[in-house]
Every structure is written in C-alpha cells, then in structure tokens.
Amino acid sequence: MPIQRREVLTALGTGTLAGLAGCSGMGGGGGEEEPTAGVTGETLTLTTTTSTYDTGLLDEIHGSFEEMYGVTVDAVAQGTGAALESARNGDADVVMVHARGLEDEFMRDGYGVNRRDLMFNDFVIVGPEDDPAGIEGTGSATEALAAIADAEATFVSRGDNSGTHTKELNLWEEAGVDPGGDWYQETGTGMGEALNNATQQGAYTLSDRGTFISQRSEIDLVILVQGPIEDGPEILSNPYGIMAVNPGVHENVNYDLAMAYIGWITSPEAQEAISEYQMNGEQLFFPEAVSEDSDFQQYVPEGWSSESSDA
C-alpha cells in the first residue's frame, strides 16, 4: 500500500509540474521580444471588417509591412460594429472599417484619431435570375428596395451591425420603407453565409462587390442593381476608412506602430498593391488615399467644420 501511494503521488507531482510548465510557457509568450531599437518585434492589433479579411486582401498585402518594420500584424475580422467596439475598449491599435456614420461617432467620442480615406468599392443588390420583383436595371437603389418590399419578395438581411447591414438600413430609410414581415429575414451571419442563404431561398440581398465576386462561382445569384463602379447610383458606394485608436484615451495602445501602419497603407506602394489585388480576374478594391487634391473631410467627422459649435 505505501509503495502504491508513492506512485500515485509521483504521478500527481508530474501532472502538477507539467501544468506549471504550461503556465510558465504561457507567461513567457508575451515578454519574449528583446529590447531592440524602434518597433521591431512588436505586434499591431488591427480590428477590421469581414470583407477586407475574407477576400484575402490583408494577408496578401501585410507581408510587405511586416517585413519593412520587422513586426507582426494581428488582423481580427469582426464586422464594423464589433471592430469599433473592440477599439473603444482599447483592445485594438488601429481600425479599418466601412461605415462612415459609425466611424464619425467613434471620432466624436474621442476614441479615434488621424482618420484617412483608404479605398472603396461598392455595394450591389443581388437576387435570383428570374427576379420576381422586377428590379433588374433599376437606376435607383431605393426604388429597387421599395419594389422588393411591395412585391414582398424574400430579402436576406445581415442583421449583424456590420458595415453592410448599416448601409442596408440606411437604404431602407432613404426608400421610406420600414422592412418587416415574413419576407424580410435577418440572418445574423457573415456576407458569405448570407449569400448562400439567399441562393437557397431565391432571395434578394445587399452585398459588397468584393465578397460577391469572390463567391460568384458557387452561388446562383446575379447582380440586379449595380453600384457606382459600374455606373450605378452613388448611394451604393462603399468607402473604407482607417483610424488609429486615441492614445490619450487608452494609453496602452501601440500608437507609434498604428501610425506607421496608416502611413504605410496610404502610401503609393501599398495603394498600388491594393489595386493590383484580384480575385477571379476582377479587381476588388479601389485605392483612394493618394490624391493630388486636398480632401479635409477625410480627417474629421462628416460635415464638421471649425465654425460649427460641434466640438
């Protein structure tokens, strides 16, 4: 009996040691980098939307930034609402999103600084080929949505507070329609799932062009209302902005590296790389950070001016 007990104790001891080894390994993970000059070895946390990440754009272009500065970029794809929320909590250093209204609120609340226009593509209204609501070729996105609502044709909504969802809600408001009823389905899913869902139900949905192109081969939906890239209405434009998290609010954020990242991604080289990124032979994103003209509105909330009482 005593011998057996020793065996068991040894086993328990081994287990405890192994567990502790795991702990110390865990603790060491964060403090690995040696104190070297500059930003080398640091990690930049970028929260962003699913459309920039899932299309593969960020993985494609980040290599050159990581090499240039010897850093790591942790890209967290969350959807615009969640990406901004993470940044509000100080859990991100830089945010790349596509919902100007939410970005402006983020800046007004003091969380974001140094906003730049980054790139754009557009939204398209897609649906089944037989087009039960007859919206194909409609020049106005709001009229098309109103027609869908009138016909009570099934419409799949993201319903997830993403940039695309925000745009969709704005469009309904512009169209003067309060969507509801059996035909309007909030799925609470990512764009890819929403497109699959729409295919299965023969439904309409609003999609960003990038995600639609990257999935076109697997879904039976067609573009019925084009966005501004193909001469559609301007209201369907989809601009992406980038902002650093205010180090005055969250002192732990890596502001230096965030600004280095913003500087890099708005540089002619990175903008060129964005324009060269293709999927299924089509360009997904159109850079707009490099311009001869001054565009002061990109730095401040839309409509802000020093004369207004708004601080």
Binding site: G63, T72, Q78, D91, G192, S214, H250
Partner: protein
C-alpha cells in the same frame, strides 16, 4: 492518477497527430497555404490540452473533497457545478472578454487575443463537466470499499486512494468529456482569441473550430466539412490514446 493519462500523452500526441492529419489533408485538394492546417491543429491541441490539464488538476481534488466530506450547502454547490455544465460558451467568452479586455480587471496583462485568454475560457468551460462526472464516479464507488480500506488499517488518505482507483474509469470519462467540450467549442475562443493567423497563414489564435466558422462565413461549406472531419479524427485519436492508457493501467 487522474492527471497522468492526459498529461503525459499530451506532448507525445501533438506531433504525430499533426503529421498524420497533415498528410491526410494533403490528399484532398484544399485552398490552404503550406503549414496552415498543421498550425491550427497545433493551436487547437495546445489550448485544449493545457486547459483540460489545468482543469483536471483543479476539478479532481474538488470532486474528492466533495465526495468525502459532508457540509451544509453541499447540495447547492453540486447544483451550481451541474448548472455550469450547461453554461453557453458564448457567455463564458463574454465574461472572459470583460476580464481580459483592456478595461477589465486583468487588462494590464494584455491577454486579449492570445492563446492564454483562450485557455482561460476553456478552463471555465471544461471544469464543470470534469468536476461533476468525477464526483459522480467517486460517490458511485461502493461504501464497502471505503470501509474495507479503513478496517484494514488504512488512513483516511489510503481510503481516498482506494476509492480513486475504483473510480478511475469514471474520472477518465470525466476528463474526456471536458476535453470534448474544450476542443469542440467555438463561441468563446472566437471572442477572446480573435481567430488570428499571420499574413503567411500560420495560426496564432485560430483553432479548428474557428477555422470552420470562418470557412462557413465565407460560404466555403466543403472546406469547412473537411476541417470538421479533421477535428473529429483528432478527438477520436485523443480518446483512443486515453482509453489505451487506461487499459494498460489495469494490466499492470
């Protein structure tokens, strides 16, 4: 005894499992970059095995204590543990997020979007089933066994060890149940881990489950299914190893 079956094979298991599944995946033509699948398998196993190990070291002593002592409120403690088995992983994820977020009590440790945060949430998830099932196994041992140990001159500790020995299959099942809950869990590791890979496709906090979730989000259901098959194979392998160790223990 309880910690042994899972801790020792942990290191030995990771490498061959990765090699095996990597070669299996290579047979199917998948749009993944080199090293991607093996790195997410590694992160999955790393996080779940450490979480389950820590959870076992915590749960089994608690189960022993509960099994051997009577105190007022014991029924309540058991109810709380049993309720914990049904705790939604997303809620656990949110709680851990509040804890490790920059604004939370552990914010200064900068654990958000790291494997450590994922281990924390899986620890919380795996602990209730391991404790509850271990406790059931320990209380299920016939009282005669305990009495016999005491009558034969054993101390209280000796009696406890005898009961533990009798309950070892139940405890192994408890650990496997905890492991199953940890490795198949998607909600909390997605929230606190962030599903991150490096630009060249090597996982930092992406596990098999969050990779499946990503593929599903992109509408790539076939690749999601293949990753699902890898996950099932992995769980099967871990179960087989634990069962084999259990049998060896009996033969000895």
């Amino acid at each position: 005894m309880p910690a042994e079956p899972i801790v020792q094979p942990a290191a030995a298991l990771v490498e061959p499992a990765v090699v095996l599944t990597e070669s299996a995946v290579a047979l199917v033509d998948l749009p993944f970059r080199e090293g991607y699948v093996s790195s997410i398998i590694y992160v999955s196993l790393y996080v779940s095995l450490i979480a389950v190990t820590l959870s076992t070291l915590f749960s089994v002593p608690v189960a022993i204590f509960l099994g051997f002592t009577d105190f007022p409120g014991k029924g309540l403690v058991k109810s709380v543990i049993n309720t914990g088995m049904g705790f939604p992983s997303v809620v656990v994820g949110l709680i851990v997020l509040f804890a490790v977020s920059n604004q939370g009590p552990l914010g200064s440790l900068e654990l958000i979007f790291t494997t450590e945060a994922m281990i924390m949430s899986q620890f919380v998830l795996a602990t209730p089933p391991i404790t509850a099932i271990s406790l059931a196994a320990i209380t299920g041992v016939d009282d005669d066994v305990r009495d016999a140990a005491r009558v034969l001159g054993g101390t209280r500790l000796d009696a406890a060890l005898v009961v533990l020995k009798e309950a070892r299959y139940g405890i192994a099942t408890a650990i496997l149940a905890g492991f199953g809950r940890a490795i198949s869990e998607v909600g909390s590791v997605l929230i606190v881990g962030g599903n991150i890979t490096s630009a060249d496709g090597i996982s930092k906090t992406r596990t098999l489950t969050t990779a499946i979730q990503l593929e599903a989000r992109k509408g790539q259901y076939e690749t999601a299914m293949v990753l699902g098959a890898v996950l099932v194979a992995l769980v099967l392998a871990v179960n087989a190893v634990v069962v084999r160790f259990g049998d060896q223990g009996v033969q000895r």
